[in-house]
């Protein structure tokens, strides 16, 4: 330091040569950028039953009638909660598949009605899915008309990828049979979601059904505990921006989460209040199981076990 001061002299600012440092930075920044992970990986744990090989052949342990014995059955178009040997009304749902084609088109296909929906606000990051009138029905096809096969032969090039499978809940109000529930297009439910895709509910844990119900200044919450927040015109602490709120199909997983958190709160003193068994059929995709497990975990069920449905 002393030497530097002497060299610099009085009133003469030393001219630092920053170029080598710059060169170092230009190298460091790309390296760090390439190392940064933008998509974080996480894990989902499941509980394997503790049964040794010795008793693999013996019958499973007796079921305790006094316990909650909560389980969720996952079917192709329904979710059903069982507890204490009885079941709650099924949550009926339609599958809507979100595809991304090789050409980059992103759309939703509704197999039951052979309808296609496109996102009008995709360029701005919004969610406004409207029916694509140019699609005349039939099997799923990309926007340029290329049909999407249901299965691919080995090594065959994929036309489109499935981005997500939505389980859109159906209203069962006043319906006497399954046919009636699935017979009416208007039974498909709508909900209002925030920017992190959580459904809003009011003080009585009822879902909102239309975007017009959301007004600046009102209090809303999501299905999580202690999630009350205000609707404002800009994002702030405990305030959601009304411009980021959007309306979409109501997910059956949200309905499930709502039912499950109700059950969890009611039976919290039960010895097996943390346990849940997820049943599913052979053909159910892994994605659905993970979504159901998410709903269960968020509702307070930490011990998730898996079992097979039927057969």
């Amino acid at each position: 330091m002393a030497a530097k001061r002497k060299k610099g002299g009085i009133g003469e600012a030393p001219n630092l040569d920053l170029l080598p440092v710059m060169a170092l930075m230009t190298v460091l920044i790309p390296i760090l950028l390439s190392m940064a992970s933008f998509q974080k990986l996480a894990v989902v744990e499941i509980n394997m039953p503790e049964r040794s090989m010795m008793d693999a052949g013996s019958p499973p342990p007796e079921v305790d009638d006094q316990a909650l014995n909560l389980s969720v059955a996952v079917g192709k178009d329904y979710l059903e909660i069982w507890a204490r040997g009885g079941s709650l009304p099924k949550i009926f749902a339609d599958e809507i598949i979100e595809y991304r084609c090789q050409t980059g088109d992103n759309f939703r296909y509704h197999p039951r009605y052979q309808m296609r929906y496109i996102n009008q606000e995709a360029s701005t990051g919004g969610h406004k899915w409207v029916q694509d009138k140019s699609f005349s029905g039939g099997p799923a096809a990309c926007l340029d008309g290329t049909p999407i096969p249901e299965t691919y032969a080995k090594g065959e090039k994929r036309v489109a990828q499935i981005e997500a499978i939505l389980m859109v809940a159906r209203s069962t109000e006043g319906a006497n049979s399954e046919e009636e529930v699935f017979g009416d297009y208007n039974r498909l439910l709508r909900s209002v979601y925030n920017s992190s895709d959580s459904a809003y509910v009011d003080g009585n844990l009822e879902f909102f059904t239309s975007l017009s119900q959301i007004k600046v200044g009102m209090n809303v919450q999501t299905l999580r505990e202690n999630s009350v927040r205000k609707i404002g015109s800009a994002t702030a602490a405990n305030t959601d921006d009304i411009h980021s709120v959007y309306e979409d199909w109501r997910s059956a997983y949200d309905m499930l989460a709502k039912e499950l958190s109700g059950i969890h709160n009611r039976f919290v003193e039960m010895p097996d209040a943390e346990n849940i068994i997820v049943f599913a059929g052979d053909e159910i995709p892994f994605d659905k199981i993970i979504q159901v497990m998410d709903a269960a975990r968020e509702s307070g069920f930490a011990n998730i076990q898996l079992a097979k449905l039927g057969g």
């Binding site: 920053l18 930075m25 974080k40 996480a42 894990v43 989902v44 499941i46 895709d197 999580r224 995709p285």
Partner: protein, 163 residues
């Protein structure tokens, strides 16, 4: 502009890069802060699309991974059986997979014994499944893992943005 030109013109040799340095330093610090201390413990297998989940549990350690994609079942990056064969079989236990896993488990036990660890503890395995994998294949994979002594089965997922 003319004033600026007058000021810096002529000399030409001294480009003032201090402000650029400032910007770079900020970017560098930001990137360093964002960088995970653990780094990437698990790399996502190719042609595999993991489901997204709200799970906040991050991967602590990886000893063994099982990957099931559309074509093969891989244990520790070595293909052991074709996925189609897994779908067709009736038995819950995927024989070649159990074989490979049991061999791995033995190795782990020997290593645990040699280092004075607990050889009887349950082994843990991370399973990477494509999001369209059927429950049937998932169940068989799980059963095979459990049967081979890997009681802690974890499924890799993509973390969804938390609220």
């Amino acid at each position: 502009m003319p004033r600026k030109a007058r000021k810096y013109g002529g000399g030409g040799d001294d480009l003032n890069i201090t402000s650029l340095m400032d910007a770079m330093t900020i970017i560098l610090v930001f990137l360093l802060k964002n960088l995970d201390a653990e780094g990437n413990l698990l790399t996502q297998a190719d042609n595999l699309r993991l489901p997204s989940s709200s799970s906040q549990k991050t991967i602590q350690e990886v000893l063994l991974t099982v990957v099931v994609d559309n074509n093969h079942v891989l244990v520790d990056n070595t293909p052991v059986i074709e996925t189609d064969l897994v779908v067709q079989q009736d038995s819950l236990f995927i024989a070649p997979m159990v074989e490979a896993l049991q061999a791995k488990r033995e190795e782990e036990k020997m290593a645990a014994l040699a280092s004075g660890g607990d050889a009887d503890s349950k082994g843990s395995v991370i399973v990477q499944l494509d999001k369209m994998t059927s429950y049937d294949v998932m169940y068989k994979t799980m059963a095979s893992c459990g049967f081979s002594g890997y009681g802690n089965v974890r499924f890799a997922v993509l973390q969804r943005n938390a609220e």
